[in-house]
């Protein structure tokens, strides 16, 4: 009955109630979003870091190198010579070195040349089919397979670069030979092949250079194509000149007749191997046997090579530090709103208490105990907080669904709105109730100590 009375009382003044609930909902929603996003974000970023002590790549921003190589979110810093990095990959400190070569995408999903170790690093298994063995065979991540509805044996053509709108490679089709199990990590959104596949698709040079030269000088297309048919492009150092070799992509694209030939050639004549000299890759993920490497390699690499060694843990901590400022600011804002909602509840209760003095006195005449009046006031406040919390945690999750849709398309990073982080959300719940309790304290005590006779005589 007391609970029912409290419930009826809070809806007797709907505007006060709605204001208080609205404020509570807003603050709880913001904090819920922050709690879930922060945790899932860090979890995702942490799990992708497992087994990566250091990233070797082209010089440039170390953060960019880490983001592109470990998290697949940024563009790579450039390419490095596979011949020179091979030496480091065999260094006695190294436990495992996973090379990565970027080039193409398929409707926005990156196609990454690597070794089967990469799949192992993410603890992915083959849900269907096998790991790639030959050139142009690919393993697709779980999310890619699901979203694009890819099955074993499906063939597709890659698009140049990292944007889905890029130019399509008309020659060379990828064949799906395996589908990886879902891991919740970046690998779910990748298409993996071996490294020679990437080389063969692009031949020797970096894309941008070749690309531009082609558009400036279409005449070379024919020449490039001839080279191509001569095969052994990479084996012949003379052809290693920028643009020259790359031209035939353009030529083929413009000239479908030749495309057929190129295709045949790719698949049957000269499959490149990992031992191809003078080739380039994008980066190498290093796991050390001897953790001293973490301290020694950055200097060692910088002094002796044209590459850089970036420490992903250090770089990501920098990112979290930067994010942390923003997240904390939002948290303070949310707690501020919660404080205001507490004050709003207090004012509402305090004002109605004046009007309800006679009502309370009458309840006492009817046999109500002091404690029961105290409970009515406390219940009212706590009910408001419960409703506010309920709406807030729902609204927060709706927010995460929307956020997730945006980040999914931009970063291939989804958030799970259904996850409940009992510990932190429990604290938030407790805090919400505490706000209600404190807001109701003074009005409740006033109700408790109400002088019935005086109230009724003056009313």
């Amino acid at each position: 009955m007391i609970g029912k009375l409290a419930w009826k009382n809070i809806w007797f003044k709907p505007l006060n109630t709605i204001l208080s609930i609205l404020l509570l909902t807003a603050s709880v929603a913001i904090i819920t979003v922050l709690i879930l996003v922060e945790k899932q974000f860090e979890e995702k970023y942490q799990s992708n870091l497992d087994g990566v002590d250091l990233v070797l790549g082209a010089q440039g921003s170390p953060l960019q190198l880490v983001l592109s190589s470990v998290y697949q979110v940024d563009d790579p810093t450039g390419n490095i010579s596979y011949d020179s990095v091979k030496v480091w990959m065999k260094h006695p400190y190294v436990k495992k070195a996973i090379p990565l070569a970027y080039g193409d995408n398929y409707v926005g999903f990156k196609i990454v040349g690597t070794t089967p170790d990469y799949i192992e690093k993410y603890q992915a298994t083959m849900a269907e089919g096998n790991v790639f063995e030959h050139n142009f065979e690919v393993v697709v991540g779980a999310d890619v397979a699901e979203k694009l509805n890819l099955n074993i044996g499906d063939r597709f053509k890659g698009t140049h670069g990292s944007a889905a709108e890029g130019e399509v490679h008309e020659h060379g089709e990828y064949v799906v030979v395996g589908i990886a199990s879902k891991t919740g990590k970046v690998i779910d959104n990748l298409i993996l092949s071996n490294i020679p596949t990437v080389w063969q698709m692009h031949h020797v040079e970096s894309h941008e250079e070749g690309h531009e030269e082609v558009s400036e000088n279409p005449a070379h297309g024919e020449e490039g194509h001839v080279h191509h048919e001569d095969e052994a492009v990479a084996e012949n150092p003379a052809h290693g000149e920028p643009g020259h070799v790359h031209d035939e992509h353009e030529a083929t694209a413009e000239n479908p007749a030749h495309g057929e030939e190129g295709h045949v050639h790719d698949e049957h004549e000269t499959d490149m191997t990992i031992d191809e000299p003078n080739m380039e890759i994008t980066s190498v993920l290093i796991e050390f046997k001897n953790k001293m490497g973490v301290f020694m390699w950055p200097t060692l690499i910088a002094q002796n090579t044209k590459m850089q060694a970036a420490l992903p843990t250090y770089q990501m901590n920098r990112v979290f530090d930067m994010f942390g400022v923003g997240i904390n600011a939002l948290k303070y804002l949310a707690f501020g709103i919660m404080l205001i909602s507490g004050i709003s509840i207090f004012i509402a209760l305090f004002n109605t208490l004046k009007e309800r003095k006679a009502e309370f006195a009458l309840m006492r005449v009817n046999g109500a105990k002091r404690r029961q009046l105290l409970m009515v006031v406390l219940y009212e406040s706590i009910l408001l907080c419960l409703v506010g919390y309920l709406f807030g945690t729902i609204l927060g999750r709706v927010g995460i669904v929307l956020l997730s849709q945006a980040s999914e398309s931009d970063f291939k990073l989804g958030f799970n709105p259904m996850e409940i982080i009992w510990e932190k959300e429990g604290v938030l719940f407790g805090l919400t109730l505490l706000v209600g309790l404190i807001a109701a304290l003074i009005p409740a005590i006033k109700a408790y100590t109400l002088n019935i006779s005086k109230t009724l005589a003056n009313a």
Partner: protein, 209 residues
């Protein structure tokens, strides 16, 4: 049945009220009259157990109530004493019927919905049962107050100026209801008033001076 002996009360040292003794059988009515400031309402509050007298005793159904404290006093009051005030107060957010149910629940822990409906029917306000109290006219509100005072079938019914805010017709009506119902429920009825319209109707009168 209610009786009092030698009750004194003071709000401060300067003024002490000496309350007249009274004795009222179940089903009878006593009118307590007197001018303003003579302590009529104070007396009623003492009888209701809302104020503690300095001395004296109050017996309700052979039970001494001045020594009851805290929640025991609340419980006794809820069960045995019904009060009708000059101005009706209700729980504004509850309907008429829910107000009655609340009154019986606070006293006995049971809602007594059936009894509440019967009372409303007797007082001819059944149709207002699901309205909020402030949607009723003053006369109707006073009748709901009477219903609420009687819901727990108390031993004593106290009425504090029950007619002063009512017109002649409603005042007659209320007095008649109070009288017949207190007889029906075997309740001792004590009316505190300075309303001359009532004084003519009762012979049992105590005047406070």
């Amino acid at each position: 049945m209610i009786s009092t002996k030698n009750i004194t009360f003071s709000y401060n040292k300067d003024q002490t009220f000496i309350m007249p003794d009274l004795f009222c059988q179940a089903g009878n009515t006593i009118l307590v009259t007197g001018n303003s400031g003579k302590g009529k309402t104070t007396y009623l509050h003492i009888l209701a157990g809302l104020l503690q007298p300095n001395s004296g005793e109050i017996m309700i159904d052979n039970k001494e109530i001045t020594h009851l404290k805290g929640s025991k006093a609340d419980k006794f009051r809820g069960k045995n004493i019904g009060v009708v005030f000059q101005k009706s107060h209700f729980i504004a957010s509850l309907s008429v019927l829910e107000n009655l149910e609340m009154a019986s629940w606070l006293a006995s822990g049971k809602k007594h919905t059936k009894r509440a409906k019967e009372l409303l029917h007797k007082l001819d306000i059944s149709e207002q049962a699901h309205k909020l109290p402030n949607q009723l006219s003053v006369g109707q509100q006073q009748r709901v107050s009477i219903a609420r005072a009687l819901i727990n079938e108390p031993k004593v019914l106290l009425a504090d100026e029950p007619t002063s805010s009512l017109d002649d017709k409603n005042a007659d009506n209320v007095i008649e209801l109070l009288e017949t119902l207190s007889k029906e429920y075997k309740t001792a009825l004590i009316i505190v008033t300075h309303d001359s319209r009532i004084k003519e109707k009762f012979t049992n009168q105590i005047t406070m001076v």
